[in-house]
């Protein structure tokens, strides 16, 4: 992420550079977070449009990419809440029942159910690490938490995923 360190007030060119170089990762994380490919792609577009409009507010006390991740994550959450007002408040067990990308039943649904049982922070850390290939420091900057907390969260998320998926196999 350090390649995109900028001074205060992000320039349009710097935002465009990150958009062009990291678009697939932004879309993948937003799709996983939003639960829908179309919603995820739209949230990335809206998030970057918002970043352009608010670029004067970028204080430059962190990296521009971290600031963009924060905006895209918040935009995705907001769009998900608007799309499914009731579902936004569903407990994890019920959220496990929702289809993320419309794949038919099978392994994908089992992974989906396991993911839905993680906490919101665990999910975010997992997505940013595995889908966007961000390191602990970059994730910490994007989410506004210490990198030590990122490591602990990631470790607990991995353990929970392992337990959930293995449980399922044992029981089947």
């Amino acid at each position: 992420m350090s390649a995109h360190q900028e001074g205060p007030a992000a320039s349009l060119e710097a935002i465009e550079r990150i958009y062009r170089s990291r678009l697939p990762e932004f879309r993948r994380v937003a799709t996983a977070l939003g639960g829908d490919r179309e919603l995820g792609c739209d949230a990335v577009q809206e998030g970057f449009a918002l970043a352009i409009r608010s670029r004067a507010k970028f204080r430059g006390d962190g990296s521009l990419e971290a600031w963009l991740w924060r905006i895209v994550i918040n935009t995705t959450r907001s769009q998900r809440r608007s799309a499914e007002p009731a579902a936004a408040e569903l407990p994890a067990q019920q959220a496990a029942a929702r289809s993320l990308n419309g794949q038919t039943h099978g392994d994908a649904d089992r992974v989906r159910a396991a993911i839905a049982l993680l906490s919101e922070r665990q999910r975010l850390v997992l997505f940013l690490h595995y889908y966007a290939d961000l390191d602990y420091a970059a994730i910490g900057e994007a989410l506004g938490i210490a990198s030590g907390t990122v490591g602990a969260t990631l470790s607990s998320a991995r353990a929970a995923m392992r337990r959930l998926l293995e449980e399922e196999m044992v029981h089947e």
């Binding site: 465009e16 958009y19 062009r20 678009l23 697939p24 879309r27 993948r28 996983a32 490919r37 577009q45 809206e46 970057f48 449009a49 918002l50 352009i52 409009r53 809440r81 799309a83 499914e84 007002p85 009731a86 579902a87 936004a88 408040e89 407990p91 994890a92 067990q93 019920q94 496990a96 029942a97 929702r98 289809s99 993320l100 990308n101 419309g102 794949q103 038919t104 039943h105 099978g106 392994d107 994908a108 649904d109 089992r110 992974v111 989906r112 159910a113 993911i115 839905a116 997992l126 595995y130 889908y131 991995r158 995923m161 337990r163 959930l164 998926l165 449980e167 399922e168 029981h171 089947e172």
Partner: protein
């Protein structure tokens, strides 16, 4: 394979990598410009309005500008408190949005049915909430004092536990007036929990809040918002009866489940032929040919699920019995193979059949219902109408029938296809 690689592959099942997709930077710029124009227009329009409002304020004074300010607000809260009663325990009976329209297959007679929620609350023992649709228990949850229930029960828990305290202490806010189904109501917002500047709910700065509509005439509660406050469309429970009771009334929290139930798919779900499907259903597959409502049969498969309960305190999920459902999908092969819920104008019919009621009866392709978002919240999960009746639910996208001992659920992306399909299957 390392754990990192294994998890990377596992997560690829959820969202495959995005590759070489068209970049749409121009679209981003257009969106940014469009939003800026809207903001400029709003600002331009607000100035004259702001001047007019300020002038009106000078003329009318602060009392008219804030109809529920000061004494009037206190009066509303005091009357609302008096209307609820002061017994320690409460019993609230409300009508939920779970249900639909029952249709007599012979006469076509239609009857609206809605589930009833009964909430018993006692500050010393906790809460119990039961939802019944025509006698069938849809949900039954209980929690001792100090424990939370989940989802919709949160709203009723807040209403029975915190409403009177908020009215008494003056923490409640009067939001304004509205008319619901012809009845004039006043909306009251009950803030819960400590003030927290980080709270990201519509009730900021509180962590959570609860909206209650009271009658403009009697000040009794008429509706409780079950959906999170501020979010639309609002899901309301209509309050039918509210009683203040002596302590010790009712079985609270009971032996009911304390957690909502999730489900997972069995990995052995598979395509199956017609005779195999019929065997699995005890020889009673509802079948009207390879076309239904003009759509061609694209796939028959057997879907298996298991329900489970898994909470933070449990080391392992607790699984329920295996449930199997036969699913017939009618549409184009491309639509079915995509696995995606279709747009409303694209035709897709799903016929799910089982020997006993199952959560899987309500799935379209994958685990998504076919109706619009939110419509599925009206679908009952356990109630099945008696033989000879059809329950139309899920925003008009789902029909549930019982035939020759089988439980059948038909889901249609287009509402017009639904009843012709049900008639063909039950002929």
């Amino acid at each position: 394979m390392s754990e990192h690689e294994r998890l990377t592959r596992t997560l690829e099942l959820l969202v495959p990598p995005f590759e070489a997709e068209a970049e749409e930077w121009e679209d981003v710029l257009r969106r940014a410009e469009r939003a800026a124009q809207v903001r400029r227009r709003r600002r331009g329009g607000r100035r004259p309005l702001a001047v007019a409002v300020a002038a009106l304020g000078v003329v009318c004074g602060l009392v008219l500008a804030d109809p529920f300010g000061g004494g009037e607000r206190d009066g509303v809260l005091a009357r609302a408190l008096a209307a609820v009663g002061d017994g320690p325990a409460l019993r609230v009976v409300s009508e939920t949005q779970v249900g639909g329209t029952l249709i007599d297959s012979d006469s076509g007679q239609r009857t609206e049915v809605r589930a009833r929620r009964e909430v018993l609350f006692d500050p010393d023992r906790g809460i119990r909430t039961t939802v019944r649709l025509r006698g069938t228990v849809e949900e039954d949850y209980g929690a001792p004092t100090g424990k939370r229930l989940g989802y919709a029960e949160d709203a009723m828990q807040a209403f029975t536990r915190d409403y009177r305290d908020a009215l008494r202490s003056g923490r409640a806010n009067v939001l304004g007036e509205e008319e619901i189904d012809g009845a004039p109501v006043i909306w009251i917002r009950v803030p819960l929990g400590p003030k927290t500047p980080k709270a990201r709910t519509p009730c900021r700065p509180y962590k959570f809040c609860q909206d209650v509509a009271i009658s403009r005439e009697s000040y009794e509660p008429l509706y409780v918002s079950i959906s999170p406050p501020g979010l639309k469309p609002r899901v309301l429970d209509r309050i039918l009866r509210i009683e203040s009771l002596p302590a010790g009334t009712g079985d609270i929290p009971g032996k009911a489940a304390r957690h909502t139930v999730g489900f997972t798919f069995l990995p052995s779900s598979h395509d199956i032929d017609r005779s195999g499907a019929a065997r699995m259903l005890g020889g009673r597959l509802a079948w009207s040919g390879r076309r239904l409502a003009g759509l061609r049969l694209g796939r028959i498969d057997a879907v298996g699920i298991r329900t489970f309960v898994f909470t933070k305190r449990m080391r392992r999920p607790r699984y329920g019995p295996r449930e199997r459902v036969i699913r017939l999908a009618f549409s184009t092969r491309g639509q079915i193979e995509s696995g995606s819920p279709p747009k409303s104008w694209k035709p897709l019919l799903i016929v799910n059949q089982a020997r006993r009621p199952s959560m899987a009866l309500h799935f379209g392709l994958g685990s998504a219902p076919l109706g619009p978002v939110g419509a599925s919240s009206a679908t009952p999960h356990r109630y099945v109408p008696p033989p000879g009746w059809v329950l139309l639910t899920g925003g008009g996208h789902q029909a549930i029938v019982r035939q020759r001992g089988q439980f059948i659920s038909v889901l249609a992306s287009r509402r017009d296809d639904l009843l012709p399909a049900v008639r063909a299957l039950t002929r």
